[in-house]
Each structure stands twice: as C-alpha cells, then as structure tokens.
C-alpha cells in the first residue's frame, strides 16, 4: 500500500499564484510570528513548560491544535477517500486514544512534573542511558512526524503560491523554524489556541460551504453525508477491501498507544496549573478534536463525489493520486466552485495545522537535545544560555533534515504520521505506563523494553518501506504481523513482557524511586511548581541514604 512512488503534483488542483489567498496566508503567518515575538522567552522554564500557568480551555485548544496536524486536517480525509473503511481506523485511533491518556496517564504525569518525556524516563528509571534512548526516540518521532507535515504544507502551498513542490516545502519549513526559534513554548502555546481557532473555522466553513452549494447538506453535514454514501463507489464504505481486520485493529491500536506515548502530547500536561486542569483540559482537547474528526469523513465523502463527477474515476489505476488525495479538502472546495479567497481560507487552515504541530514536535525534540542529552548527560553545568543555544540549533538542524526528506517523501501524510505513532507506542508508551503504574519496574527492565521496541519498529520500517521492492516487503510474514503503521498491536505486549520479565529478574528499584511513583498517585494536592521528586525529598524519611 505504501510502496507506489507518489506523484508530487496534485493534477486536479488549480496550481497558480493567487493574490488574495497569498495575502491571507502571509497575514496569518505574520500573525503567528507576531504572537511568537510578543511572548518570546529568555529562560528555559518558560521555553519548555510555559511557567506551568496554562488553564483548562486554553490547554484544551492547545492540545487540539498541537494534535491536529496536516495529518488530521488533510491526511484524514485523504485516507478515508482513498482507502475507505480502513481510513476510519485513523479516525478511531486518533480520537479515542485520548481517553486512555486521560484515565491512566494525564494527572499522574502532571504530578511527576518534570520538563520533558525523556526526563520522565530518565528520572523514573534512574538511568542516563534510558534518558538518552528516550531523547533519541523523541527526536526520531519529531523527524518522522514532521516529514508528513512538510509534505502537507508543500502541497497546499502550491495551490496558494503556485510554483513547484520543492520551493514550497523549503519556504514553509523556513517560516516554521524561524518563528519557533524566536518564541519557544509559551509563544507556541499562545499561538496554538489561535491556530486551533483558525484551523477549525476554516475546516468547518469549507465543509458547510461545499455541502450547502452542492446540495449535499444544510445544517449538520457531519450527519447528512450519510445519504450520499450509497451513491459513492462501494470502495468507500465496503469493509476490509483495503486492509483486513487485523490491519484495521493493528492500526487503530497503534494510534491509540502512540497517542499516549507521544512526547509533544505529554508535555502539554506539564504546562498546566494543576492535575485537575490536566484532566479537564484533556476532556476539552478531545472535544475540540472530535469537532474535526466527525467532520473529516463528511469532507471525504463530498470530495470523493465531486471528484467522480468533475474529474474522473476515483479508484483504479487512473484514479485519484496520492497527492490529490492529500489535498482533497482544498480540492473539494475548488471543485465546488467556491470563490478563490474562500478556497484560500481552507488552504490557510491546512498550513496553520501543519505549522502548529511541527512547532510542538520541534520543541519536544529541541528540549530532548538541550535538556536531556546536553544538560543531563554531556554538560551538567550548562547555563540557560547554552541550553537555549543548543535547543535552537536543534530546531534549525532538524528543520533542514526534515525539509530535505520531505522533498521525496515515501508515503501519504497520514501514513507518515502513523509511523511516528507506532514508534511512540512501541518505545515510550510502555515506559510511561509501567513507570507510573508498577513501582517495581526498574532500570534494566526499561532498557531492555525500549531496545526491544526500537528494534521491532526499525525492522518493520526497513522491511516495508526502505528495503522493500515493487514486489512487496522483504519478509512478507513479518509485515503481516508487524505492519509498519500498526506494529504496536503485536509489539507493545512484547515490550511490556520484556520490561516486566527483566524487572522481575533483577533488583527492585531503590525506595526513593518507589516513593516518587507513589507520590504520583497520592490524591494530596501539590504545589504548582513542585514535582513528585521535590515532595518526596522534602519529606525527610529514609530517602537520601537509599540512593
């Protein structure tokens, strides 16, 4: 499925320079830069956790914007249009995972209260090696995930500015990196609320306008598109034609555990004021996410029908190309003959979505490099100035590598992003879950588990994407059991088993660590700036001798 080389020009899309959309997109980007500049930061506490001052709804919106990348805005509708019922696995996985995050991880993570996801792994398992593996995984996730965003931004940019794909990818990534290097997390969080509003308004306005003008729907297109389903090609609704039951469940499962393991999602819980806010902002975040995820299938249905009527066959060899699919949201608006400025608004929403998420990912990756690798492992006396410098350098270097890779991406936006989820679900989720819910999980267990997860993922990606030929994966049976986008279904239980087994076979973690884990589950309120470790070490007791 992910083997066909992808066209990088969406043929049906009207690619040319358009003045009004260009002004709109530029104004939006200037607004982001302005907000980023107004909230620019000079110290690391602000750069990474926004002074732990963010409230319920604002954090919910930030969760939404952080979450809703080009993969949600563009890729979701593309997957539903191109792969039918299998595409719904992405809707389900990317939304329902938040519930698991809420009941098992959000509040406990807030109580643990460090800066980054690798921080959690390193401190919980008391190991700089574990910290380094987690930090590298974080950077790898940011990289894979951002390639999908860059592809999305590049494709949509073509509609607005014309020109070619390469120029657009370079231009858009340049803007993202520029604003991030200026503003950091506080600016990014303020921006995310703005970005959420822009992207959801643009998406819903596009959906309502297409539905209304084409006579598909009136007031609730999210439900009214049902009437259209019987008129579409059966591939749109027929179950298990583009991927069997196992692949469906594996994909959904991977996206769910990936959601719970993504560093840039978790860091949102470190920015809130209390654990209760951590909980309620998750509920808000899921609400904001559902607004879009209930609408994406409707957009896909409208787009597919318009494509069939105005362009040609959707499925089959001469059907809709991957690049056309990835811009179907914009394409549908264009095919519905909506005014150019309006299509430009829909395109701007897609760009906002991609920039917001890339920002979150790059922040997570840069703090992994500056905080977890540089400060904690290489130079423990690093000044804030040095940390900021390393963090910003990481953003620039990562931006350059992502840009280069995105020039020739190996898969659809949604699929690229799903790869990052399966990595997070395999390597980080088991560490978060066991780390918080089983106090005897220890250092050797974590190291063995994370290594196992990394191996499973790397093997799946090499097997199915990098070394694969036109004939298919190198080892077909491995691809059946560990499909690259769904490797976590079979893989995560293995990682759990390895971690638990090795932990049982080796010494229990020190009492100090156990007490930190317990503090994460205690119902007693904690200070806003306190971490579980602070509480435990302030408490006296047998702590210090233990270490």
């Amino acid at each position: 499925m992910m083997l066909t080389p992808l066209d990088l020009l969406p043929d049906a899309l009207n690619a040319s320079f358009k003045l009004i959309p260009a002004i709109m997109v530029s104004a939006m980007l200037l607004l982001f830069l302005g907000i980023g500049y107004a909230f620019r930061v000079a110290d690391t506490e602000d750069l990474w956790v926004a002074g732990r001052s963010i409230g319920n709804v604002e954090n919910g919106m930030a969760i939404g914007a952080n979450w809703m990348s080009a993969a949600s805005y563009l890729g979701m509708a593309a997957l539903i249009a191109l792969s039918g019922y299998y595409g719904l696995a992405f809707v389900v996985g990317w939304s329902t995972g938040y519930f698991i995050l809420l009941i098992f991880l959000a509040a406990q993570m807030r109580r643990f209260g460090k800066y980054t996801a690798p921080d959690f792994v390193g401190d919980r398992f008391d190991s700089d090696t574990a910290r380094a593996i987690a930090a590298l995984t974080t950077i790898l996730i940011g990289f894979v995930y951002s390639v999908g965003q860059a592809r999305g931004m590049g494709l949509v940019g073509i509609y607005v500015f014309g020109g070619d794909y390469t120029t657009m990818v370079v231009l858009m990534m340049g803007i993202t990196v520029g604003y991030l290097a200026l503003s950091g997390m506080l600016g990014a969080t303020k921006n995310m609320a703005v970005q959420y509003v822009i992207l959801i308004v643009a998406f819903l306005a596009g959906l309502y306008a297409v539905g209304w003008t084409q006579g598909y729907s009136t007031f609730l297109p999210q439900v009214e598109y049902g009437a259209l389903l019987s008129q579409l090609n059966t591939e749109f609704t027929q179950p298990f034609t583009n991927g069997g039951f196992y692949l469906w469940v594996a994909t959904a499962f991977s996206l769910i555990v990936g959601t719970c393991g993504l560093p840039h999602v978790l860091v949102r819980f470190y920015t809130v004021e209390s654990e209760r806010t951590a909980r309620w902002s998750t509920v808000w975040g899921l609400f904001f996410i559902c607004l879009l995820y209930l609408s994406a299938p409707a957009f896909a249905a409208f787009g597919t029908d318009l494509y069939a009527k105005k362009v040609g066959d959707v499925y089959g060899a001469s059907g809709m190309s991957g690049a056309e699919g990835d811009v179907i949201v914009v394409l549908a608006s264009q095919l519905a003959n909506l005014p150019t400025w309006f299509v430009g608004l829909v395109a701007a929403g897609g760009i906002a979505a991609a920039i917001a998420t890339t920002a979150g990912l790059f922040i997570a990756a840069s703090s992994a490099a500056a905080h977890d690798i540089y400060t904690n492992i290489i130079n423990s006396d690093a000044t804030q100035r040095q940390q900021l410098l390393i963090g910003r350098a990481t953003i620039v270097v990562l931006g350059a590598i992502v840009t280069l890779t995105a020039l020739n991406p190996p898969a659809l936006v949604g699929e690229l992003v799903a790869l990052a989820f399966s990595l997070a679900g395999l390597v980080l989720f088991p560490m978060f879950f066991l780390g918080l819910w089983w106090e005897n999980a220890n250092r050797p267990g974590a190291l063995a588990g994370m290594t196992t997860g990394l191996l499973i993922w790397t093997a799946a990606v090499f097997n199915e994407l990098i070394l694969a030929t036109d004939a298919g994966p190198v080892v077909p049976i491995y691809a059946d059991i560990f499909p690259a986008v769904g490797a976590a279904l079979a893989g995560t239980p293995i990682v759990f088993a390895v971690t638990i087994g090795v932990s049982l076979a080796t010494d229990e973690p020190p009492e100090r660590i156990k007490r930190i884990v317990r503090q994460c589950h205690s119902p007693e309120p904690m200070g806003q700036q306190q971490s579980a470790e602070d509480v435990v070490s302030n408490d006296g007791g047998p702590v210090s001798g233990d270490d």
């Binding site: 179950p239 317990r518 306190q530 302030n538």
Partner: protein, 175 residues
C-alpha cells in the same frame, strides 16, 4: 515538615471527614505491608502533627508508603479510583473495537442495515467510537472530581504558586 503544616492548614475543609475515615485508612497503611518499616516513625510523627495542628485527613494515609500496582490498589482512594478506571476502560474497549469486530463477524448484517443513510458499521465506527470516547472522558472527569470531593481534596490550594516558595526554602534548609 513546616511545609506540610502550611499546606494542610490551607485546607480546613478536610477536618470534617477526618473522624469517619480514620479506621479504613489505618488498615490500608498496614496492608501497604512489606517495607512499612522505614516510613514508620515518620507516619507516627505525621499523625501527631496532624492531630495537634489541623487534623487534616491526609495525615491518616501515608501515600508514600502505599505500594503502587495497578492490579493491587493499596489505599481506599486508589481502590475507588481504579474501580472507576477499569469499569470505564471496559466500556471504552467496547466502543472502540466493538464495531469493527461486529463488522468482521457479521459482515452482511452490519453493512446492509442502514440508519439515516449510513450502513451500520460505518456509523458506529466513524461516529460511535469518537463520541463514545468523548462522553466517557467527560463522565470520568466528573467521577474523578466527585472522588476528590469524597476524599476532601482541594486542587485550588495546590495551584497557588505561593505554595511553592516555602517548599523550595524548606528543601534547601533540610539539605
């Protein structure tokens, strides 16, 4: 220790259910078992301290001595919390993997039944699962708030930054 006092005294509401909760919490501490030894003197100290100063109920259960194991909750609070968590997790699993499994097992029925134009499998998957998770999240957050209330937990005091200052100072002097 002075930090503990100051935090507790900000929550006078906890005094009310102190008496009623005393017994079960004490048992819980004992079931915490195994390595209660190192925490022992401290727990005693805390209890006296609680009794004299404010009598906050948090003094009864020493959560730092209560083992954390998702299958073996060791405090009344965790037991109550995990009951909610597991019940809702089961409901979630039905919402998420129910529709696709039903579609796999009864393909004809699920695809030929239509509701408002939607084939049933499409409706339950595309709308049932996300909305189900949203509703469950809301219900969980409400239940968890109710649990906080039952155990006299007040997050508003935990959220003031004034709280953090004495904590930091305290830690500094102790070291």
């Amino acid at each position: 220790m002075s930090d503990n006092n100051s935090r507790k005294s900000e929550n006078p509401s906890r005094e009310s259910d102190d008496a009623s909760r005393g017994d079960e919490s004490n048992t819980a501490v004992e079931t915490g078992g195994g390595e209660s030894e190192p925490g022992e003197p401290r727990r005693g100290a805390k209890r006296t301290d609680g009794g004299v100063a404010t009598g906050g109920r948090t003094a009864d259960t020493d959560y730092l001595d209560a083992r954390v194991n998702i299958f073996k909750p060791s405090t009344p609070f965790m037991r109550d919390h995990l009951r909610i968590v597991w019940t809702m997790f089961a409901a979630w699993a039905v919402f998420v993997f129910g529709p696709v499994t039903a579609t796999y097992l009864a393909t004809d029925f699920m695809t030929s039944t239509t509701v408002g134009g939607f084939p049933l499998h499409y409706l339950l998957t595309s709308m049932g699962a996300p909305l189900g998770a949203l509703v469950l999240s809301f219900v969980y957050a409400r239940k968890r708030d109710a649990l906080d209330e039952k155990y006299g937990i007040d997050h508003s005091s935990g959220a003031t930054s004034a709280d953090a200052e004495p904590a930091a100072a305290d830690g500094g002097t102790e070291r």
